[in-house]
Amino acid sequence: MKIFTKKEEQILLAIYHLKDEAYLIPIREKIKEYTGKYFSVGTIYVPLNRLHGYGYLDAHVKKPDTSAGGKPIKYYELTKSGLAALAALEKQNKLMWEGFKTPAFED
């Protein structure tokens, strides 16, 4: 089982949640939702492309849509192995976080 970086994990999850709407800009927005921080296009694209290269993601290009201003858009979706990877990740995370209790901070 491959070890994913945090960024890769976030991207896979973002795509999972976005379903049909997963392309670079919404992915970025989604990650902002998770982390509260905008990452630059470059730092998203590189791992995204890598995941695509490993075969966890499929990509297809949608023809220009007038509302998008006439540019083709590359959409990503999870492949079978992508979903399997997510499942494995979930297991891992559960394992890691099991028994963790948020300590009560006192100011």
Binding site: L24, V41, G42, Y45
Partner: protein, 858 residues
């Protein structure tokens, strides 16, 4: 809802084009555009512009990293491997780097020199349209003579009658003229005499004054800044007067910036040509040859050959020569420095040395190739592993070429330092001022990088192909037995040694020829003969000057002449004698000489008598000719026969034994002496071989007595020959000598490396041989045998080539040294000896090793 698409600002979208990965450019660009549009609508274009720049800059590392990551990783790997190999095989690396950097430094030096020589006279604005007019005389025998000297009326006639010619000027250089300003008197300024249009044709930049009108007044002079400073200090020179020969007052009308070194013309000042005919300024009309040059400026895009014919026709009409047929030719200014109308010229020397430098580099490259392929076994496993992992052949070729390029760039750095270290002595050798500042000019930088690239690619190509062809299966199993069977390596060693031997033989022959030139019997005694360049004062009071000199018992004879018998090129074709065939055109070389000329020089009068003060008619009507002239005229008893030269009637009073009055490129030709005891600026002093420096001091003091401003140096006749006549030979000999030594050094280094490798590879064999009973001598012999064979083979190849090259090089000499077999044999033996010495060091080391050490396994 339809959104209006906003465009990303120009520069930003250009930047995106470069940084975005190619395969996804369209989509990523679209994404950026969308975000920009959104921002622009929400916050305005300006803020969106700033934002997009921020985004792009933040994205840069990511994108760059993605595209460069693998390349950098591989490059880092190659780099480390190269450095490790350099460190691991220290001996080989040192041999390679030393050899290559010497070879490259030699190439760099020659490149600097060549590019300097090619830059001559390029600063003239009209350089492409300027030509020198010269003539060629054709004699009945089929001989012809090229004459750079021109005619007084030629420039004027060409300007008036040739529409193609925009301007035409005469130019003549002079030296030793006395120029004075008040107390300041000098005779050592190089003077140019030129017609007024000179500065219209040639673009010598002026610091002060108007170039077009500077020479229009007859009594004017244009100074260089250096000369102006010498005479006037910091005063404004314009309008001041400089006195020429205590007689003519010349007004300074312009100051030139100091001449660039890359100029064929070298002078400190220029005066109007008309001054030659002062004070009455009557221009000579006759068409007799003179030591002046004619330059023309043509209109744009004029073809030279038709113009040459036209000039020939025009001159024929004016001059109406009866004697010889003369044709005119144009020598363009851009060729003046490199090409000689006589054929050859500097360009030949440059080509030869460029070739030699390339040879040296080639020899160093061969070392590199041989050592890399010999060491291939050590890399074979690496190649195998790389191939198994997935490297294609092209990747490996790229890796190995890259490696040799890296080494060649390392050597370039060393070579530049080497070159900088040798530049001063190289400059001194050539009498040039090549400066390291040239290293900053683009041509030179490109040239140097080119040389490094060439070296790396050339030296690396063969090893790269050789290494990349290994089969991974066999290399990993260790089946590659590289080393002994490579016939190409033998060929390369043979090539290397052939080149070296050719260079050795050529250098030896060059030295021999120069020795021959300096010891050849010229027909007079050249030892202990001092040449004095006499100033005006000495010339005018020559008799007292001569008597003063003769007061010293160490001085045996003093005489004078117009020309020096090291290179008398001027000829006269207006020669007539009784019985001369009417349609025959001939020429004789000639000189005006003083009394005692023949006794001072030690020339032998074989018939008749020398010039004598006892006969007053000698000054007008007497000629002394050489044997060759007698032969040409076909006289049985020449003494007393009528002869007319320059239309002066007289008779032959003596015949002098043939002597050589030109460099040894030319054979003896007919010669006629005329007596002119009151002219001629060259003095000759014959001194006794004892106490030479005292005699020279005495001579200098006597010169000072007659001319207090005299700064002339005394020169021995032989020094004149080496310094002024055989300069190219002198330089060529030295450079060839050094380069040959370097070539020998580099090829021996290569051999040393190869021998070390061979010995190492055969360690076990040697051990077994020794155990079985071979003696050290036998082992050394066995190891050296191959190399001996190669060097002997090189000799066989090199000898005919060297013979041919030498024949070609000595072709220009009419008198040449004998190229005997012993030169070849000795050079070959020398090469063999050095090769054996190199090899035997390794062989002995290997042979003396303890077999127990070499045979023990682990």
């Amino acid at each position: 809802m339809k959104k209006a698409q906003a465009r990303i600002p120009g520069l930003a979208s250009w930047l995106l084009r470069y940084v975005l990965p190619k395969q996804d450019y369209v989509y990523l660009n679209g994404n950026f555009a969308d975000m920009y549009t959104y921002r622009a609508q929400a916050e305005g274009r300006f803020k969106a512009g700033i934002w997009i720049w921020g985004e792009i800059i933040k994205s840069l590392p990511g994108f760059m990293y993605a595209s460069l990551y693998w390349r950098i990783t591989m490059f880092k790997n190659y780099f480390i491997i190269t450095l490790r190999n350099i460190r691991k095989h220290t001996l080989h690396s040192i041999i390679n780097i030393v050899g290559l950097s010497i070879g490259m430094a030699v190439c760099l030096l020659i490149f600097l020199w060549v590019q300097d020589e090619f830059g001559y006279d390029r600063f003239h604005v009209n350089k492409d349209d300027i030509s020198q007019v010269y003539s060629e005389m054709l004699y009945t025998g089929g001989d012809s003579q090229i004459n750079m000297g021109s005619y007084y009326p030629l420039a004027k006639v060409l300007k008036e009658e040739c529409p193609e010619v925009r301007e035409a000027v005469r130019y003549e250089s002079a030296s030793g003229l006395l120029l004075s300003y008040g107390e300041k008197q000098f005779t050592n300024d190089a003077v140019g005499l030129a017609d007024p249009a000179f500065f219209d044709i040639f673009s010598f930049p002026f610091a002060q004054g108007n170039p077009s009108t500077a020479l229009t007044e007859n009594y004017s002079i244009v100074l260089s800044e250096k000369m102006a400073k010498k005479y006037f200090g910091n005063d404004d020179p314009i309008g001041k007067t400089i006195t020429l020969l205590n007689d003519f007052d010349l007004q300074v009308t312009g100051v030139m910036q100091d001449l660039p070194t890359q100029s064929s013309f070298q002078f400190d000042c220029v005066m109007p040509y008309a001054l030659k005919f002062a004070p009455n300024f009557k221009e000579p009309e006759h068409w007799g040859g003179n030591p002046l040059n004619t330059y023309i400026l043509m209109h744009k895009d004029i073809d030279r050959p038709p113009l040459e014919q036209k000039i020939t026709a025009i001159v024929e009409k004016h001059a109406q020569w009866e004697t010889a047929k003369v044709t005119f030719h144009l020598h363009s200014l851009t060729k003046k420095h490199l090409y000689s109308p006589h054929g050859g010229g500097l360009i030949q020397t440059l080509l030869i040395f460029f070739a030699i430098a390339l040879f040296v580099l080639l020899i160093a490259c061969i070392n590199f190739m041989n050592l890399s392929t010999a060491k291939a076994t050590t890399r074979a496993k690496e190649v195998g592993v790389r191939k198994v992992i997935g490297a294609r052949k092209i990747d490996l070729i790229r890796q190995f070429i890259g490696e040799s390029l890296m080494i060649s760039f390392i050597t370039l750095v060393i070579a530049v330092f080497l070159m900088a270290a040798f530049l001063p002595s190289f400059n001194e050798l050539l009498g040039k001022q090549l400066s390291l500042r040239l290293l900053l000019t683009p041509v030179v930088v490109l040239g140097f990088l080119g040389i490094a690239l060439f070296t790396g690619a050339f030296a690396g190509a063969y090893p790269a192909l050789y290494l990349s062809a290994f089969q991974p299966g066999s290399t990993i199993k260790g089946l590659i037995r590289s080393g002994s069977k490579s016939s190409l390596r033998k060929i390369l060693v043979v090539v290397q040694f052939s080149l070296t031997i050719i260079m050795i033989i050529s250098t030896v022959v060059l030295f021999r020829q120069m020795g021959f030139v300096m010891s050849k019997d010229l027909g007079f005694d050249r030892e202990n003969l001092v040449v004095v360049q006499m100033s005006q004062q000495m010339q005018e009071r020559f008799e007292p000057f001569r008597n003063d000199l003769l007061n010293n018992p160490q001085i045996r004879g003093v005489t004078r002449s117009l020309q020096g018998p090291w290179n008398i090129g001027s000829t006269v074709s207006a020669v007539d004698w009784d019985g001369k065939p009417p349609d025959e055109s001939v020429s004789m070389h000639w000189d005006y000489v003083g009394y005692d000329y023949f006794t001072t020089f030690g020339m032998e009068i074989i018939k008749g008598r020398a010039f004598s003060k006892d006969y007053s008619t000698d000054q007008k009507e007497a000629f002394i000719v050489n044997e060759e002239a007698v032969k040409m005229m076909g006289m049985q008893s020449p003494v007393g026969k009528r002869l007319s030269v320059f239309r002066n009637e007289g008779q032959i009073i003596g015949v002098v034994k043939n002597f050589l009055f030109q460099p040894l490129y030319h054979e003896v030709k007919p010669f006629v002496f005329m007596l002119r005891p009151f002219s001629g600026s060259l003095g000759f002093v014959r001194i006794r071989p004892e106490n030479i420096s005292g005699t020279l001091d005495y001579t200098t003091n006597t010169m000072k007595k007659f001319d207090p401003t005299s700064q002339a140096d005394l020169l021995f006749f032989n020094d004149v020959l080496t310094n002024y006549i055989y300069t190219t030979e002198r330089q060529a000999r030295k450079i060839a000598g050094y380069f040959t030594l370097l070539a020998l050094l580099i090829s021996s280094l290569g051999l040393f490396g190869l021998a070390a490798f061979m010995a190492e590879r055969r360690t076990k064999e040697i051990g077994i041989r020794k155990v079985v009973g071979a003696s050290i001598k036998e082992v050394v012999f066995m190891l050296s045998r191959d190399f001996t064979k190669w060097v002997l083979l090189s000799n066989i190849i090199a000898w005919p080539v060297a013979y041919f090259v030498m024949k070609k090089l000595l072709e220009r000499y009419a008198y040449r040294t004998h190229i005997g077999l012993e030169i070849f044999v000795l050079s070959g033996l020398a090469a063999l000896l050095i090769a054996l010495l190199t090899v035997s060091y390794q062989a002995i080391k290997a042979a003396r090793a303890n077999p127990a050490d070499s045979l023990r396994y682990e």
